[in-house]
Amino acid sequence: GYFLLAPKQGPVMSFFSFGQSAEIDIVLKDAETRKKVEHKTEDGKKDKYFLLYDGETVSGNVNVTLKNPGKRLEHQGIKMEFIGQIELYYDRGNHHEFVSLVKDLARPGELTQSQTFDFEFTHVEKPYESYTGQNVKLRYFLRATVSRRLNDISKEMDIVVHTLSTYPELNSSIKMEVGIEDCLHIEFEYNKSKYHLKDVIVGKIYFLLVRLKIRHMEIDIIKRETTGTGPNVYHENDTIAKYEIMDGAPVRGESIPIRLFLAGYEMTPTMRDINKKYSVRYYLNLVLIDEEERRYFKQQEITLWRKGDMVKKSMSHQAAIASQRFEGSSSAEKALAQAQAKEQEQ
């Protein structure tokens, strides 16, 4: 006979292994109460995943269930990994791991019966938000692996990370005068430059000079995903929204209001140069169309950010955790201890 060299994954291969196999099941701590969010998969479907934030501890247990009870499962070690990785679709082979944590659950040996192992990754740094895009994907997942001589048994569980921001200190309005000399002059104004995902864009278009026959005006929200560097830069533009703000011909001195509710659209926070691999930016595109279907437009970038629904820890405690992670100084540790003590008092 001859050996079939099997790849190191999962249930299909148990067909070829003559002996014991097992099923792995990963259960997060507090799974019943933990929030789940919808996230798009690569093929466009939406699935629900557990939601985690930066700094949160990732813990739970792994159930290894033997397929044939009574038979032993020999293994080369059992481990649990927490991985954050970026995958560029045009470079599938290379996964760029920016977070890679591992915990050994069992030393090489054998399992005589199904067993449950606890795991805990404390205060895991999750610096970027989960993202499934046109040319790139960033995901976080837990992976439990039972190593064996010929083929490993492993199970992955994806989780979704949202990055939260607080209200920006500086949030100036965007106000600009644009036009075509002697033909069309407008002044457009948007009340902010940074909007959270459930915010409202309040603005106005003021017509200073109208020597063209304008028929219609709309505002589009454009998402631009940029991947790659240097000569191999790909831009994917996607019009998320088209919102008519004027139907008919304006005259000089007229002011057209804008009130655009963002909560109705599927958007992510602005992502700039994530791990030097990709960016996701959003633009407001003001489009005017004249009687002869000619289009005049002005694009303006806005920053989108994600506001937290609830403040789980006090702000001082969160700030203390963050500063300890980035500074690692004794003063930061003292601040963390102080904040923890304060929390326990309350």
Binding site: D182, G203, V251, R252, E254
Partner: protein, 162 residues
């Protein structure tokens, strides 16, 4: 902590001057083509069309003008604009070469229905072009629309306003 209600009030804007609101719009530009006339005899016959322009745009020297042009004048204008401006110039109605062949049952290019079809197409062409911001400052367009005759030896230039 209760969610703050989004402030959706309109931004402040100056009240509009009533003159601006109810006065004539600053974008008035009307171009009509009418009264086709076939001049000449035999093989040297050609058709001219009257082009009437009414406007309040400052860039046009005459607020009202009336000229006569033939199809080859339109071809010249289109050529000048394609060469000289960044405009994507719309096509003209067809040259109708087949109508210029002999032994046709009808009047060829002097057929009434053909002239009407051509008139409508040329009128549409002119309206598209004359309203284009990048064509509006071209000397060739103004000469075509408002000068007595088209001087094909002109110097191409831009109309500038003080």
């Amino acid at each position: 902590m209760a969610d703050t209600i989004a402030d959706t009030r309109r931004l402040f804007s100056k009240p509009q001057n009533l003159n601006d609101a109810y006065g004539p719009p600053s974008n008035f530009l009307e171009i009509d083509m009418s009264n086709p006339e076939t001049v000449g005899v035999g093989r040297t016959r050609f058709t001219t069309y009257e082009i009437r322009l009414k406007t309040n745009l400052p860039i046009f020297k005459l607020k009202e003008s009336r000229v006569r042009r033939r199809y080859s004048d339109f071809q010249w204008l289109r050529g000048e604009l394609e060469r000289d401006s960044k405009v994507v110039v719309p096509p003209l109605p067809g040259k109708a070469l087949s109508r210029q062949l002999p032994f046709r049952g009808d009047d060829g290019i002097f057929d009434d229905s053909f002239i009407e079809e051509r008139r409508a197409g040329l009128e549409q062409f002119l309206n598209k072009v004359a309203g284009h911001p990048l064509a509006q400052n071209k000397r060739c367009l103004h000469m075509f629309l408002q000068d007595e005759s088209v001087d094909k030896t002109y110097t191409p230039s831009k109309i500038r306003q003080a």
